[in-house]
Symmetry: C2
């Protein structure tokens, strides 16, 4: 079956399809070197010559071959952005932020890892193949020594080859120093612990004492940090970290949040508040509560995390923690472009801020 598109073979056989530098040079009556210099504007060229070259470029509709250029100059126009899934607004916002700062010159390659370690490594290899100019790694890391080691090694090699690296919303990688003369990797850390702590403090201040927590997958750093913040707030009040029965781990999605909430409710019917580890799960929490005939916040208060755009329009408006994701992505982009420098230790903390809406209220007196 003949494919519906032109095969590359078709092209190779036939006459040249795109003009080359040499074609332009010939037409302009100059050498290839001169054309290259006009195009890159990195060497003096007489105005008249320049004009002739530019005209030839126009006439031949010449478009430079990026691969040849990258090969000869050992540079690259590619920036890799590793995310769990672009369709998730959390990552979409980061990716969009990166784009906003790199879009003019560079092409952003967005890679959906689905959070899988092997896909992550695989994409890093593909990016290394293309000799990417930079890579942004987002998405919470799996806390598995083996995988962390593998990623560290891959990044070390990328960095050695000149690829700039920014970790966005990930813990710093020990061994890949941040600052000093051999600085390689910048890290943007979200204030997950602080944000979670303040959020739970808010709940405690309202008077809640039996608070359920719907956490993310147990093996992720982000999960752990947010949970630690939650526990810290409880501990500060002298409350035990909460019996394990108040905490349910599950995937970072809505359906899982719903299921986890139903389980939590069965185990602890007396809950007056449930904190979810992110906004998406929080929607599932709300759905589950409604199914059980519980009103929000009258019967049970709910909180999320991230403050994704939809959270303000959810019902009720979700009390959550705002993370400036777009701005973080933009910062990552600027760092990659060299438009900005990270502090000596390479570590930037992205602040988190509690946003109070209508999903939290004091508990009803029993």
């Amino acid at each position: 079956m003949r494919p519906w598109f032109a095969r590359s073979d078709d092209r190779r056989k036939g006459q040249r399809v795109a003009a080359t530098l040499a074609d332009v040079a010939r037409r302009a009556g100059v050498s290839a070197a001169t054309v290259s210099r006009v195009l890159n504007d990195n060497y003096p060229v007489a105005p008249a010559t320049r004009q002739r070259v530019l005209r030839a470029v126009q006439e031949l509709e010449y478009v430079i071959n990026g691969n040849a250029r990258a090969l000869a100059a050992s540079t690259s126009d590619l920036i890799g952005v590793l995310v769990n899934d672009v369709a998730d607004p959390f990552f979409g916002l980061i990716a969009s932020g990166v784009q906003s700062e790199t879009g003019g010159d560079k092409l952003a390659v967005v890679c959906n890892t689905t959070g899988a370690p092997d896909r992550e490594l695989n994409y890093l290899t593909l990016l290394q193949r293309q000799r990417a100019a930079g890579v942004v790694l987002s998405g919470s890391a799996i806390e598995e020594p083996e995988h962390i080691h593998a990623v560290t090694e891959r990044l070390r090699r990328l960095a050695a080859a000149g690829t700039r690296i920014v970790l966005c919303g990930r813990p710093p990688l020990p061994g890949l120093a941040g600052g000093g003369d051999d600085a390689k990797v910048a890290t943007l850390a979200f204030a997950n612990r602080d944000g979670a702590r303040e959020l739970t403090e808010h709940l405690l201040a309202l008077g809640h004492r039996r608070i359920g927590y719907v956490a993310g997958p147990a093996d992720r750093t982000t999960t752990r940090h947010r949970l630690e913040g939650h526990r810290a707030a409880l501990a500060a009040r002298g409350m035990g970290a909460g019996s394990g029965r108040l905490i349910a781990h599950c995937a970072y999605d809505r359906a899982s949040g719903r299921r986890a909430t139903l389980a939590l409710l069965d185990a602890e019917p007396g809950l007056t508040a449930i904190a979810a580890a992110n906004d998406t799960m929080a929607l599932g929490v709300c759905a589950a509560l409604r199914e059980r005939g519980l009103r929000i916040p009258d019967d049970v208060s709910v909180t999320g995390f991230d403050d994704l755009p939809f959270s303000a329009d959810a019902f009720p408006g979700l009390t959550t923690v705002r993370l400036p994701l777009y701005q973080a992505g933009a910062l990552a982009g600027r760092l990659l472009m060299g438009h900005e420098s990270p502090p000596p230790d390479g570590l930037v903390t992205i602040p988190a801020e509690v946003v109070r809406r209508d999903s939290t209220a004091p508990p009803r007196r029993p």
Copy 2:
């Protein structure tokens, strides 16, 4: 000021940083040709030799240079995905769908055009530079003959160079035929007109007669099609296309939807329903209604379009039209990869389906 990352100059001066094919060949005691053959598995190589080569690859941590390869073989691992903004779930879903089908071999370059014609053209040039294997254009097109012509020309050249092209949620480009032997471009068209018509029919069936419409920017095809569907439904009932005062054009975002609604309400206080041209605007519509103390759907019914994930959790659950965006993206991906063929005319219609939730109800009897 010395940049925080290793400069590419640093690299060029110093000793070679990455192993090359020749290094591998030397170490394995074979010729470069043989290494290439092992790596590409496109020519018989004796098992023993193969083993030696693979070992050398391991030992040297060799990673092929994608640019050199692309240059020599005139192939490419890049797929371009043009979207207005990845942070918008509408486009995020499409991009994610494309990725799902291309991710293994290809790298998806996501380009945020913000809907601006010049950025669109600029990105097409950048992709042409990289000799991209394929391009997906999404995002509603500006209906400006000049721009359409410019895009058509750019695409024609891309196609001529072997780049496969899929238009996703855009009108077909006259002149870039879809099928037959010289097929170049496949088009995935969303059933915007039908979806909008059915949605308005739903409103009419409920008994609404004074229906406001918050449309997108007037110069977009998508805007026009959805509006046409709306009007067609009205016309079928013998209702005038609605006085212009029932229709407000604005940007496809929440804030604009809110403002437009306030204006509509001022002009026509008797509205019993408002249809928004997409879900995001619909959220703005809801916000505006609430500000005015109107209840949804008791006082005014509201509809959206697209059925983005958040629509089910909005308050009240949004009646809207579902567009299988992820699936459309995936189809685009399969088309690009040659895993699937478009019909002879190159045109695939992606069906739309009304989803009834809680934001629509019969109007109160006045």
